[in-house]
Amino acid sequence: MIDEKQVAHVAKLARLALTPEEMQRFAAQLSHILAYVDELNEIDTSGVEPMSHPLDLSNIFRDDATKPSLSPDEALANAPQKRDGFFLVPPVLEWGE
């Protein structure tokens, strides 16, 4: 089960400004899905190594060499707002007096 308070908490973690209607609906739908997913507890997984990936990869390294990359103009081409070669965002820190 997941209630609307938990939904509000998760929405904050996920950076989603959900509407009250969405909060209510997701609480019901996510509860339904999580109840189904709970059947995983029917399976004994004691001693089973979790599998995070289909490949047993260790670190893969490449040569530390320069190569061509995007120009600043290309990298900024899709930016919703930009200025002087930078991505533009609202102030992140509040300034005091």
């Binding site: 950076r15 989603l16 400004a17 959900l18 899905i33 289909p54 081409a77 919703p80």
Partner: protein, 487 residues
């Protein structure tokens, strides 16, 4: 000569070599077919007709001069709209990426261009590949060419419907839990999910990074073999792509098919499997037996647990991958005047559709403090059991045969209010993504309403040749893959 839209890619290559057809004839015919059919099927999001015709013309000119041409010269192809194309809108069928023009080509796109394939169009999909019906597109749903009141399946519904309706001989989709095999089964075409890492994911906009794989779709196994041979192989830009050499799949399947042991997993023939689907799939198993293969029972873990584990792992990975859409670097940005946190939250609220939000929420919850062990870690352990189950089964058999999906194509709107019912459409395809092994769906007949049924074959990692060999043997003995919808 049969109509161009009924010819396979291999036949179109031969017709160009013999001089019977030019690349321009082929591309023109595809564009005409798109103009005639897509207003009702709505498989495509953007078409680049002029560029395609110009490219076809230069291929014809190169051929006339005797210059060497690539393996897909003059063949039209459609790409799912989550595969990046430089300077060409790549939207993931989402409002949040509506006007996004990637500054680079995906690894597969570079390979297609080098092979002289003609990229015609970008195809509709469930938003960010979240869905099994293509109804979750932010723009419009795609219709099944066999019955316009029904879904084509998803999430690669646009790519698959464009092949099924003869708009293109070839298409690429992507798979995270069955997103090419399931629509291939609903639309009566051949779709292959390669081994995880067989095809570079560079430039495929990520959903579940440990599950995603670009997947070819065509009318028969030979064309899938042709296309896979071009797109497979290591890519330095995707460190998870396999360094294993790429066999000549097409030459391989032109040799006689070796006799194999094919397992029927009893856990995949369950309540809820539509009777017509079960009949057609068992008939397909009999057909393989009469072709000389040893068809026998085998045991695999119950696929329902795979669905549960998948919807934790897939959403957990999706919630992390979709964190990048924040209104700063690309895509939609809220018009509201806000601080930075509100900028992110409102941008995402406005930009994402319902299913994307639901999955981000589910994944974030499963990874959040206090729930990680109960959900994510538990699911990762179950995933190990799914993979181990295949490993054991493949000690007894060379391939596994099952239904691709429990039903044929369902009606638009039929499952869109119940997320769980929608998720269960992928119950038989999810396990291959969880284990990272290849699977193929091929047409094996029709239900009582005349809708296509697909049968799935799965094999151990990097054994795509085995699947293509079996599929080609089946298609040499049957004509289901030759039937066309009356569009």
């Amino acid at each position: 000569m049969k109509p161009l839209h009924e010819m396979t890619a291999c036949e179109l290559l031969d017709a160009q070599k013999s001089g019977a057809l030019s690349a321009r004839d082929i591309v023109r015919a595809s564009l005409d077919r798109i103009a005639g059919l897509d207003p009702s099927i709505k498989a495509l999001l953007s078409v680049r007709a002029e560029e395609a015709l110009a490219q076809a013309q230069s291929i014809d000119a190169a051929r006339a001069k005797g210059e060497p041409l690539g393996a897909l010269a003059g063949l039209p192809i459609v790409l799912k709209d989550n595969i990046c194309t430089k300077g060409w809108e790549t939207t993931c069928a989402s409002r949040i990426l509506r006007n996004f023009k990637p500054p680079y080509d995906a690894g597969v796109v570079a390979k297609l261009r080098a092979a002289d394939a003609v990229i015609l169009a970008k195809a509709n999909m469930d938003e960010f590949a979240f869905g099994s019906s293509t109804e979750n597109s932010a723009f419009f749903p795609t219709r099944n060419p066999w019955d316009s009141s029904r879904v084509p399946g998803g999430s690669s519904g646009g790519s698959v419907a464009s092949v099924a309706s003869g708009m293109t001989p070839l298409a690429l989709g992507s798979e995270t839990g069955g997103s090419v095999r399931q629509p291939a089964s609903f639309c009566g075409v051949t779709g292959l999910k390669p081994t995880y890492g067989r095809v570079s994911r560079y430039g495929l906009i990520a959903f579940g990074s440990s599950l995603d794989q670009i997947a070819p779709c065509a009318r028969d196994a030979k064309d899938v073999a042709l296309l896979l041979g071009v797109i497979a192989g290591h890519d330095a830009s995707d460190s998870t792509s396999s360094p294993a050499p790429v066999p000549d799949y097409l030459a391989g399947i032109s040799r006689p098919c070796p006799k194999m042991r094919i397992g029927l997993p009893r856990e995949y023939f369950i309540d809820g499997l539509a009777p017509d689907v079960e009949k057609r799939v068992r008939e397909a198993a009999e057909a393989f037996r009469s072709l000389g293969h040893d068809v026998r029972d085998v045991s695999l873990p119950d696929p329902k647990y795979g669905v549960s584990a998948y919807y934790i792992i897939g959403t957990a990975e999706a919630s992390s991958n979709l964190a990048r859409f924040d209104g700063v670097h690309y895509g939609h940005r809220t018009a509201a005047k806000t601080d930075i946190i509100e900028l992110y939250s409102r941008t995402r609220e406005e930009g994402f559709g319902d299913e994307a939000k639901r999955r981000i929420m589910l994944g974030t919850h499963a990874l959040s403090s206090g729930y990680y062990d109960a959900y994510y870690l538990k699911a990762a352990k179950v995933r190990r059991l799914v993979a181990e189950g295949f490993r054991k089964a493949f000690e007894e058999v060379d391939a596994v045969l099952s239904p691709t999906s429990p039903t044929t194509a369902f009606k638009l709107g039929e499952r869109s209010t119940d997320p769980l019912q929608m998720y269960l459409a992928d119950i038989f395809t999810i396990p291959a993504n969880m284990a990272g092994i290849p699977g193929i769906s091929i047409p094996c007949g029709f239900d009582s309403s005349g809708l296509p049924v697909g049968v799935q074959l799965m094999a151990p990692a990097l054994e795509e040749s085995r699947l293509l060999h079996l599929a080609n043997a089946f298609q040499s003995a049957t004509d289901f893959h030759l039937r066309r919808p009356a569009v």
